[in-house]
Amino acid sequence: MIPYTQSVASQEVPPPYHFPGVTVNGFVWEAHLDKVQAYCDRFFNLGDANARGFTYAPAAVWPYAMLLFIDYPVMISTSPTPAAVLDATPYSDRGIVSQREVFVAFPVIRRGIGGARMITDSTLEWALPFIVVNEPNSAVCGREMLGMEKLRALIQTGESSFPGSFRGQVNLPGWPSLRPTAMQQMMLFLDVDTGPTVPTFRGSPDPSSLWTLFRSRAAGDAIDALATTADFIETVSGGTFPTSMQTVSLKQFRDAQDPQKAIYQALVSCRSKYSRIQNFQFYKEDDVQIRFYKRGSFGETLRFIELPPGNPSNDPAVARDAFSPMAAFRFNANIDFDNMRTLHTFAIDRGSKLPPTPSSSDLTAPWLRPWRGLFGSRSS
């Protein structure tokens, strides 16, 4: 093992984390499977499929993308203190951090290639083609430990025109044009505006809305009761929201002298587990307007996120039409962020002076891991 030397200047708080009392605003739209496949091929399906032993593909059973605004009022580290700083205060006793996070996620299926691996190594995971956070140390941890492509953003949330509505904006550093002399500046990238949660005085939801499944009082009570007493929200929310998101990201770092080359590439997974879900409410989809701003360098950001056709906007600054999602909801919950592990380390060609680093895998699906731990070897 190569030891990591804890920096004396570091203010980072490594995972795992516990987040009580989180507020989530979620928006769901149809994903284009060809774009999801293109994302999988670019970031997950590196090298030869047979040598790799798995293939990522869109989850055709749930062909949707999900945009989440998450407000974490309290972040508590549950990380064991590294040996290098054992004489210092444990992370869990150092205090709390508040943060806001926004990401787009879509489900992907990992299929093991050949024989038993088709069963043992296949599972559903979530890819995050876009993720931003307002807390700088969270961005650094997310990028360097978990391989998430986290950028730091100005994330603002509040209530829109109507009581019970939601308004959220994301500003990111970007370049307003692709002219070589353009200077970086903070620019508006995403703007979400909703009406009040249903039932609303602004008319009835569309008959095809998910809300119609839950418009009876009994059903509403059942959501709260079931969600509070057990983690059945995945069922009662009609599958629009999973209670446990196992994510997959490409963790990679550049060579210092030749930054177009990588010195490390691996697929890393971690879990966000939602519990004590309360106050699950839907927005009327037609009342929700989502605007992604596509100007300048932001065009690259939306490369793998197909957005639905939208309505013309009156805002002259809008470079992308607004659209309404297929489902929109909000709820409160506790979130535990844990279960970090390296799924697959890709072989790295290090040039003529050094031998290539070999690949390695730990791909056993989460459901099989306890059984494998009981009966088999832990390494593959």
Partner: protein
């Protein structure tokens, strides 16, 4: 070699990069031989699990650090790939500006043979225990590409001061006092203020402070300070002096005490067209690090201090300490588009928490200059755990 997979989140400042309108301020402060040696042993000289073919030692009689603030008015990548991904054929993009604050100290890097013996003459290199920048893109690039131990900070400079004079404040997101119920906030880290120019020249300064001469020789020979060596400053006895050595390392996602990559990266920053060199009156220079639990270990390790040596914040920030940090209140209501959220509070020193005691350091020498700068990576001089077959 294996290609790096580019994405929007890796639109980084790729080296080499060049900067125009560079304004630098440097403050020479005392460090101790013991703390420098401890730092070098912890970061560079250990078995991780293999040893690098180098051994780093403090420079005899030059136990000083250079605390610097640099504003880069216009930075652009000169990496050909940066331009080619845009398809315009030019070699400059990713223009940005930022300010950074850092500490460097000199060290001697000896070659080590297979018997773990020092085997040759040393090369003088610089080591950078910490650096703060106020630009996210620079932080991600510096950490992930050339391995700087860089953190995002809020860096403010007072406007309206006489030219080249400085009042700089640095804050970072952290915790003033570690308790389970403390909440992270923008805590002040460093306050620097100059109070006027030196009444005497460089030669006279070194004549009056002969203990500075070994460090001055290194500084002058490194090219990071001035053109010709001033009178009374002999040339550096060591080769090298223009190289910065960083420990580039990344954690394993499961075992936080393990690294998935650890290497020593050498880089060079070259200043050209140096002009407007000014010397400050060191008796009027204020350097104060604020004593918070988050920064305590850094101050102890770098400056060998056991605690604050002055009560309360610097006089400039006494009122801000009483008032508490200014924050942008969350809006209770925002109209539908195109209405926007109120703009965040402008970065001033008052957004930082100053309610702390401080560690005051004496500036042994203080100067400023304007220049152009070029940064390039010289190479990865050792990768741990990856020796050839």
């Amino acid at each position: 070699m294996t290609d790096f997979i580019e994405s929007f989140a890796t639109q980084q400042l790729l080296p080499p990069w060049e900067a125009e309108k560079v304004q630098s301020w440097g403050f020479v402060v005392r460090m101790t031989e013991r703390r420098i040696r401890d730092y070098l042993d912890t970061y560079f000289n250990g078995a991780y699990p293999d040893r690098a073919p180098y051994h780093y030692t403090p420079v005899p009689d030059a136990h000083f650090g250079l605390l610097s603030a640099v504003h880069f008015g216009r930075v652009a990548s000169r990496n050909k790939r940066t331009a080619s991904r845009l398809g315009d054929g030019k070699e400059a993009w990713d223009h940005l500006q930022h300010t950074e604050v850092y500490l460097v100290f000199p060290a001697l890097r000896y070659p080590v043979n297979a018997d773990n013996l020092l085997a040759g003459e040393p090369t003088l290199v610089w080591v950078e225990p910490f650096i703060f920048s106020d630009n996210d893109s620079v932080v991600f690039s510096s950490r992930e590409i050339w391995g700087s131990d860089m953190y995002l900070g809020t860096i403010t400079r007072q406007v309206g001061l006489p030219r080249h004079q400085l009042h700089l404040d640095l804050g970072t997101w952290g915790t003033r006092q570690f308790t389970p119920r403390s909440k992270a906030e923008m805590v002040s880290v460093l306050h620097i203020r100059t109070g006027g120019d030196s009444p005497i020249g460089l030669g006279e300064i070194f004549k009056q402070n002969p203990h500075l001469q070994p460090f001055a020789s290194i500084l002058v020979s490194s090219g990071g300070f001035a053109g010709e060596a001033p009178d009374g400053v002999p040339p550096s006895p060591y080769a090298g002096g223009d190289e910065l050595n960083n420990l580039k390392q990344f954690r394993d996602c499961f075992d936080m005490s393990a690294a998935i990559y650890r290497a020593i990266v050498a880089s060079k920053t070259t200043h050209t067209e140096i002009k407007n060199i000014n010397l400050f009156d060191t008796s009027k220079v204020e350097i104060a690090f604020m004593w918070s639990d988050g920064v305590r270990q850094l101050l102890t390790t770098m400056f060998d201090v056991e605690g604050p040596n002055e009560p309360g914040p610097p006089p400039d920030h006494g009122q801000a300490a009483k008032d508490g940090p200014v924050t942008t209140p969350d809006p209770s209501f925002v109209g539908p588009p195109p209405a926007h959220f109120p703009k965040p509070t402008k970065n001033t020193p008052n957004v930082m928490d100053w309610q702390m005691d401080r560690v005051v350091l004496k500036a042994e020498l203080a100067f400023s200059f304007r220049s152009k700068a070029r940064f390039e990576v010289a190479g990865t001089i050792h990768s741990y755990g990856q020796t050839p077959d």
